[in-house]
């Protein structure tokens, strides 16, 4: 890539509708003259960040902070309402392993199907087939319908396919929490290997340990806004300090919040 950056996120905002009452039939829509009662909720608000080529980047933050939404915008699954996301090169997203497996088809047939879904040509798949199966470690069961697989086997096969796409940008969302310890270690090795070969990795994780060991830089999101970005250890420290601080602030039953001078200006109370 001639470009220095693998991912450029510019002023991205994404809103969702939270339906209180949803009209999913034409009758209801005509009667009520609307598609339902909803309020708008900004899952991402004016987020900008750049991720350099061949680096690894962690997205951290509490539940509902917009990490996964941002990752899905990068993966082109969601289209931002404002701003732009530019990804240079091919993308592979590990949001759910084995998404699109057909239970009645054999592992072999599903490798080709899932590979096609992830955008690998059949020629490339033919070449990599043995490698994929070897990495998953389920050679013996490759001609068995996947409905008979254990959940571990299912995930391992899904992971092997996704990892062998050889993408320019790999997006990972908390999928490493599955599989046994041995498989997790193999995954970590594979990530290091991919990084070495120039692949850019973006990881969403709650495991600070993993972000610390895997990522060069990180971004901390809170309530849809970018709170901090920079070298991974600094961002993680900032985030952990904030969490600790928050617990201190809330634990000893705080006095009635003072509207004039908030005690902690930074720790934003969730906007309704």
């Amino acid at each position: 890539m001639s470009d220095q950056n693998a991912v450029i996120v510019e002023n991205v905002s994404k809103k969702f509708r939270i339906y209180h009452e949803r009209n999913q039939s034409i009758k209801q829509m005509v009667l009520r003259r609307s598609r339902g009662v909803y309020e708008e909720f900004w899952a991402l608000k004016d987020v900008s960040l750049t991720i350099p080529v061949a680096s690894s980047y962690g997205l951290i933050g509490e539940n509902g902070s917009g990490k996964s939404t941002l990752l899905k915008c990068m993966a082109k699954i969601l289209v931002p309402d404002e701003g732009s996301v530019v990804v240079n090169g091919s993308i592979s997203a590990l949001l759910e392993l084995g998404a699109g497996f057909h239970p009645e088809l054999s592992g072999r047939e599903n490798v080709f199907l899932n590979g096609a879904i992830l955008g690998i040509s059949s020629k490339e798949l033919n070449r990599k087939f043995d490698e994929i199966v070897a990495f998953s470690g389920i050679e013996r069961f490759i001609d068995t319908p996947v409905k008979n697989y254990s959940s571990g086997m299912y995930v391992r096969l899904g992971f092997s396919i996704a990892i062998n796409v050889s993408p320019d940008v790999l997006l990972v969302d908390e999928v490493l929490a599955v599989g046994d310890a041995e498989f997790q270690m193999r995954c970590a090795d594979k990530f290091t290997e991919l990084k070495g070969s120039g692949c850019t990795i973006v990881v969403v994780s709650h495991s600070m340990e993993m972000v610390q060991s895997l990522c060069d830089s990180a971004a901390w999101l809170e309530h849809g806004s970018l709170k901090m970005s920079g070298p991974a250890d600094q961002v993680i420290r900032g985030y952990l300090d904030h969490v600790a601080h928050n617990r201190e602030a809330t634990a000893p039953a705080p006095a009635a919040p003072d509207p004039v001078a908030p005690i902690v200006p930074d720790t934003a109370v969730p906007a309704p």
């Binding site: 082109k76 699954i77 996301v85 530019v86 993308i91 759910e96 047939e109 199907l113």
Partner: protein, 277 residues
Amino acid sequence: MNKVASNTRAKDFAAARSLLINLTLRENRSKYKRSTLGWAWSMVNPLATMLIFTFVFLYVFGVDPPLGSPSGLKNFGFFLISGLLPWNFLSAGLTAATGSVVANAGLIKKVYFTRAVLPAASVLSWNTNLLIELGVLSVALIFVGQFVFVYLPAALVVIVLQMFFVLGIGLCLGALNVYFRDIEHFLQILLLLWFYATPIIYPTSLVFSNPRITGPLKTVYLLNPMVHFSEAYRDIFYNLRSPSPSTFFYMAVSALISMTFGLWVFRKLEAKFAEEL
């Protein structure tokens, strides 16, 4: 607006083609899985329908089967099946395409790919059935001395045009079904009405010789694209003649309008699929 780097466009297209082939294979492979008869079901269904209709119309109503010209065929079974097979393709293809986006919700929410391949794979999969069934019909026609193979190139054109016609509607309905699940149920009523508005169990001449069906009603009748598709299939597989140029013209225009409109609707709606599902 979301900018897409232009170099990924070409790659996207190649990936979509390979995915379309694979998804069609998935549907084909899984369609009759775990049924003892397997792909024979593709033949059993139309044959059973043919037997039932033949019994009802020939023996109960005493209908005289129309004479195929120039083939000289006078057989209600052949007459019926030449209209029924393309109808079954439309009916099954549309039903599958309409449900295809919702049925693959898990995939849409987790992986990026060209969404239009989902309805396309459903339609192509049922198109495979049509090809097999027409192949068997052609062989059966040989056995009664009708050398239909001369017209197979013309048949291929008709099949491709009908495929695009069905795909256009399928794209539109598949996308709308994400927002209003009524579409699936509404479709079944539409198909029932459409079945009788199409010359399948009766010849077109019956409509035109009916004194109660006058000028404007005839025009409305002829606006149904399936009238022309059915006529074309019947010309090839019952009358054994090439469909008229005007029939080809109608079919091509229907296919073009359907695809243009279907793609337009699908493009408009696909960006929000992942949120709506």
